[in-house]
Point group: C2
Chain length 330, copies 2
């Protein structure tokens, strides 16, 4: 770890790139979220547009190839002048401590795995997602969608990534569960039953047992391990359910009488707080863990605030050396 | 189909059995939800406790073996004097048109499949669940948890069961989607990609494409097909998310000031309505479709009202001949 973390940002990734990315970067530098930024995809000519007081803390790195949401994951390995390729290459060479991108998830995973490279002893890097829940603390879902299909033994990598991330977020001795459709050992697919045996047999994993979807928000849940298909579907189902509930509530208010509308007005702040307490982006960016570097995936629809938060969390992950937290468990 | 549907009820199944089951049965008979009831598990001595005006419409059928939540699914096939076995046996013989149980889901599926028997041409009976959603109409999830592991070709059975149920609930020309983690054809597991090819190739299925978890509540979604592991996990995630949101809201109200509490009071009815609009039990019982009879699964925690509703929906399914709706698609 360097004294001053060297953070890279993909200027091109995300629905609101490059404007929000640039604004987020400037905000993060101005407010001391980060010390040094490598803006990957930034032309030299951009320099004059940067505020004077932070200009010396930004390095501009040219990129040429475009990676968008139609780029197939492995294609990025041939696009050696893309921002995603360059960011990972710099991480591999030690020129960057962390790389943040709001770009194509599959391409990022491929680049992280094959350019930056896996941690030796980890066979599946995965997307690690902090979810809100009861007790005011996050719970970690892994895999959030990096690997649609997995073998039981891969759950060991996933569990260790989840535990490292939970520790990074301040959870002591994280308890690990596997997502299943029942808590009895006889329940579920061959995959989860065999995965449970693997987690039980690893002394470095505090494996508790199965957890059902209805209980993932409970206080005692720290790490939820599942394959990327189930995990990604779960994330999207949570999102869809929350959105549906809030839109039903909105409709009930707009169809309600004057008193209902008054009630809603009085509860405005609570209702707004409800929405944000459900937002899993509140913890600022999710990580691809298991690779030998810090690769932060900002949401595709990130605005400047989300980009600034992702840069901040990347900076913190460098300082706390999240990669070593995984290595300690191997 | 008989003139007066002969409906069977498992007196022993469910957390609140036998009391709630009996009360629900009496209520359903008194209110004309059903004409004739076969109370399976009812001793002859019970007769005198039944209200006089409905006594002649109830037949009591003795049962001896107990099936509980610890009974393994296939064990029920040996428990020939259990209510679940007897109900299915009577359905097989044509002595019952429908059988309702709030008992062990796995045991019910096994008994339905092996005692009542599958519809010829259907290779996987499944649990068919109506979910609430936008546009004031239900959408059908299949498989809700009967078959944790499936092959791609099985999705044809599932789709036809879902379509039959959607039609039964009044949806014309139901549109069929497969649940996936992206809508592009290249996304997801081998299972869903191959399943999509099967559904595309069947002219009797109006297959539209993939749907993501975040969009299942949208207006245009009628039937969502998925394997039983994913489907059951999805149901439980919806339940968990809804419960978490409502409990957060409750907390915000109880921690809020006087005005927030006043606001909540004014919105009381809307908030209550919100809760019930999310309850997938509102459509009254879910079905195991694909077997050669009408097997209704009432929720394990059914109260007397839920039992009465399940009896009513079973009665309606006999009258509308839901089994033939599936056969028409074969």
């Amino acid at each position: 770890m360097s004294e001053k973390p060297k953070i890279g940002l993909d200027l091109f990734g995300g629905d609101n790139a490059p404007n929000s990315n640039l604004e987020g970067a400037i905000f993060a530098l101005k407010n001391g979220y980060i010390d040094e930024l490598y803006l990957i995809g930034g032309e030299e000519s951009l320099k004059n547009d940067l505020p004077k007081e932070i200009r010396s803390r930004i390095k501009l790195i040219k990129a040429e190839n475009i990676v968008d949401n139609h780029t197939k994951p492995t294609e990025v390995l041939k696009l050696k002048k893309s921002s995603i390729y360059i960011g990972n290459e710099m991480m591999k060479k030690g020129e960057l401590d962390a790389f943040v991108s709001a770009g194509n998830t599959g391409a990022l995973l491929a680049a992280g795995t094959f350019i930056t490279g896996r941690i030796s002893g980890i066979d599946r890097p995965a997307l690690v997602i902090p979810l809100p829940g009861k007790g005011g603390k996050p719970r970690i879902l892994v895999d959030g969608g990096a690997n649609a299909e997995l073998k039981p033994a891969h759950f060991i990598s996933l569990a260790k990534e989840g535990v490292a991330f939970a520790k990074f977020l301040g959870i002591k001795e994280p308890k690990v569960h596997i997502l299943n459709i029942g808590t009895e050992e006889s329940k579920g697919t061959k995959l989860v039953k065999e995965a449970a045996e693997y987690l039980k047999s690893d002394p470095k994993i505090n494996y508790i047992g199965f957890v059902e979807g209805r209980d993932i928000f409970e206080k005692e849940i720290d790490v939820i391990v599942t394959d990327g298909f189930t995990g990604n579907n779960m994330l999207k189902t949570i999102e869809g359910t929350a959105y549906y509930i809030l839109s039903e509530l909105k409709e009930k208010i707009s169809n309600g009488g004057l008193l209902v509308k008054l009630g809603a007005l009085l509860m405005k702040k609570s209702l707004k707080g409800l929405k944000s307490s459900l937002d899993y982006r509140q913890y600022g960016g999710t990580f691809f863990l298991g690779i030998n570097g810090i690769l932060v995936k900002a949401h595709g629809s990130s605005d400047s605030e989300a980009i600034a938060n992702a840069l901040s969390v990347a900076n913190k992950a460098v300082k706390e050396n999240i990669v070593d937290k995984i290595k300690e468990m191997l």
